[in-house]
């Protein structure tokens, strides 16, 4: 569905991605793991069109999309829920969701999609007229995901959905991600919380300083000794080592 071939990307003179190749199959949940500064967010920004890769190509459903602006990428069905749940804080919940559907041409179906969103996230319905900045952290994360869903993505990219959230909330959000995937949305999940990510992913890549250092089926990686030691934080379950 989406392939990155030998992608190199830089901020100014600093080369962050040093030639990565990644393949995402339709219907999968693919996890991208790695510590801070590994290049995970840069990769998403490159796919989204915020950054132009300096080398390599990106193909989505057989079409080259690298170098295209974000509004084109979004309308093709690749939508990102950005890191740090960056919702629009002074807009209402409903207005945030409407912005999510900004590129949609089939505006008549919006109320149906809102129902679908509220089915996943009932709490957002209760708060639809509330100013988004007043939501709790977990609710803001839900809104960020819901906003991306309003664009009817074929590929949903989630940047660190677990960041700064209580374990109970993380669990809830990951269950919803799984449910969204079962409805037919392919998911690219960028996470530092490797344990949670590998629990729902089919396939995973591990990034380190701008390179893919390991890839494989999620189950295989979960049992890999090196991955266990570095990313799954040894013995204590639930902990998350960077």
């Amino acid at each position: 569905m989406l392939s990155l071939i030998d992608i190199e990307s830089s901020y100014g003179y600093v080369k962050v991605l040093k030639g990565i190749t990644i393949e995402i199959k339709e219907g999968d949940i693919v996890a991208i793991l790695g510590a801070n500064g590994a290049g995970k967010t840069t990769m998403l920004r490159t796919i989204s069109g915020l950054l132009k890769p300096s080398r390599g190509k990106i193909e989505f459903m057989g079409e080259r999309i690298d170098g295209k602006p974000p509004e084109i990428i979004v309308s093709k069905g690749i939508v990102q829920s950005p890191e740090g749940r960056q919702i629009f804080p002074s807009l209402s919940v409903l207005e945030n969701l409407k912005i999510g559907a900004y590129t949609r041409k089939d505006r008549n179906n919006l109320s149906k999609d809102l129902d679908m969103i509220y089915h996943y996230f009932p709490r957002l319905k209760e708060r639809q007229n509330q100013i988004a900045g007043t939501l709790s952290g977990g609710e803001q994360q839900m809104l960020a995901i819901a906003r991306a869903l309003m664009a009817k993505p074929k590929l949903l990219m989630l940047d660190e959905p677990s960041l700064g959230l209580a374990p109970r909330v993380v669990k809830e959000i990951f269950e919803i991600i799984k449910e969204i995937n079962q409805e037919g949305v392919t998911v690219l999940l960028v996470e530092q919380n490797a344990r949670q990510a590998l629990a729902i992913a089919n396939y995973a890549y591990i990034l380190q300083t701008g390179l893919v250092v390991m890839e494989g089926k999620a189950e295989d990686l979960k049992n890999n000794e090196e991955v266990k030691a570095t990313y799954l934080g040894g013995k204590s379950p639930g902990s998350n080592v960077n």
């Binding site: 989204s48 915020l50 602006p69 974000p70 509004e71 979004v74 309308s75 939508v79 990102q80 950005p82 960056q86 629009f88 804080p89 002074s90 807009l91 207005e95 409407k98 912005i99 999510g100 900004y102 590129t103 906003r147 664009a151």
Partner: protein, 288 residues
């Protein structure tokens, strides 16, 4: 006397508010302080004047023509002067709009001359309400201003384009990720802002008279209105403009008309001292 002062205060205040809204609209979406706003408005007002005096157009024909001109001017300035350097430091952008201010002023002098002209009011005549004598043009100006603000606020609040403008003003990067072509948003805000300025210019010209420097004090008042009400909200400049208009009218009526600019400056200083975010402003984090 007081009612009279209030109405004319609200009328001029409304015009300050229009010009200030134009400033805030651009500032909030793209972080640019447009010092050329006033000169652009003056140029559009001259277009209306020339259309009336040299081409025999009626007031409203000239009015519409000036608004069309203002839209084009706003679009061109953003597209060719601001967008190429939109990632430059704030100070550079400031210098560019200051430069534009002088360029537009110079071109206007060259094209239209430096003489002062009288500019027609929308309507003539006066109304008598109780003891107060109220000019019809003040009243109509006030009505039109309120109407235009109503449309603007309705669009910002309820239309998708309006929500997109607010989203862009909060976080342009995330707005892009949602598929908003923020460059189009910038174009729209410059066009709207230029139109607001032109309306303010044409409504204020009957009192200030029309010449190339007519808008310099209006721009100062617009800044005062924006600072007084708060540069970070759309309601702020309206509140600030109305308060300024009324205070200024009362001050010039009871104290001295010569001091009205001094008065505006003093208000900016005092406001920044007491509440830097303005009356209805709120603190915002710096945009990333």
């Amino acid at each position: 006397m007081l009612l009279q002062q209030l109405i004319s205060g609200f009328a001029t205040g409304g015009l300050y508010a229009l010009a200030a809204l134009g400033l805030v609209l651009i500032y909030k979406t793209s972080d640019v302080v447009n010092f050329a706003q006033g000169e652009m408005a003056m140029f559009s007002t001259f277009i209306a004047y020339t259309a009336m005096t040299s081409y025999g157009m009626s007031y409203w024909e000239a009015f519409i023509l000036a608004l069309l001109f203002a839209s084009a001017l706003g679009f061109i300035v953003e597209r060719f002067f601001i967008r190429p350097i939109q990632n430059a430091p704030v100070l550079s952008l400031l210098i560019v709009t200051l430069g534009l201010m002088m360029i537009v002023n110079g071109i206007a002098g060259w094209v239209f001359g430096f003489e002062t002209h009288s500019f027609p009011a929308i309507v003539g005549g006066e109304l008598k309400i109780f003891d107060a004598v109220i000019s019809k043009s003040n009243l109509l100006t006030l009505v039109i201003t309120v109407f235009i603000m109503g449309i603007l606020f309705y669009m910002l609040k309820y239309t998708l384009a309006g929500i997109a403008i607010r989203a862009t003003s909060e976080n342009p990067t995330i707005a892009r990720l949602m598929g908003i072509a923020v460059n189009h948003v910038y174009s729209i805000t410059w066009v709207v802002s230029s139109i607001l300025g032109a309306i303010a210019g044409m409504f204020i010209a009957p009192t200030t008279f029309l010449d190339v420097n007519m808008m310099s004090s209006v721009l100062l008042k617009a800044f005062t209105a924006a600072v007084l009400g708060g540069f970070t909200t759309f309601v702020g400049p309206v509140v600030g403009g109305l308060i300024l208009g009324v205070l200024e009218n009362i001050a010039s009526g009871y104290i001295s008309a010569q001091l009205s600019s001094t008065f505006a400056f003093a208000l900016i200083v005092i406001m920044l001292w007491i509440k830097p975010t303005g009356l209805v402003g709120q603190k915002v984090g710096k945009k990333v």
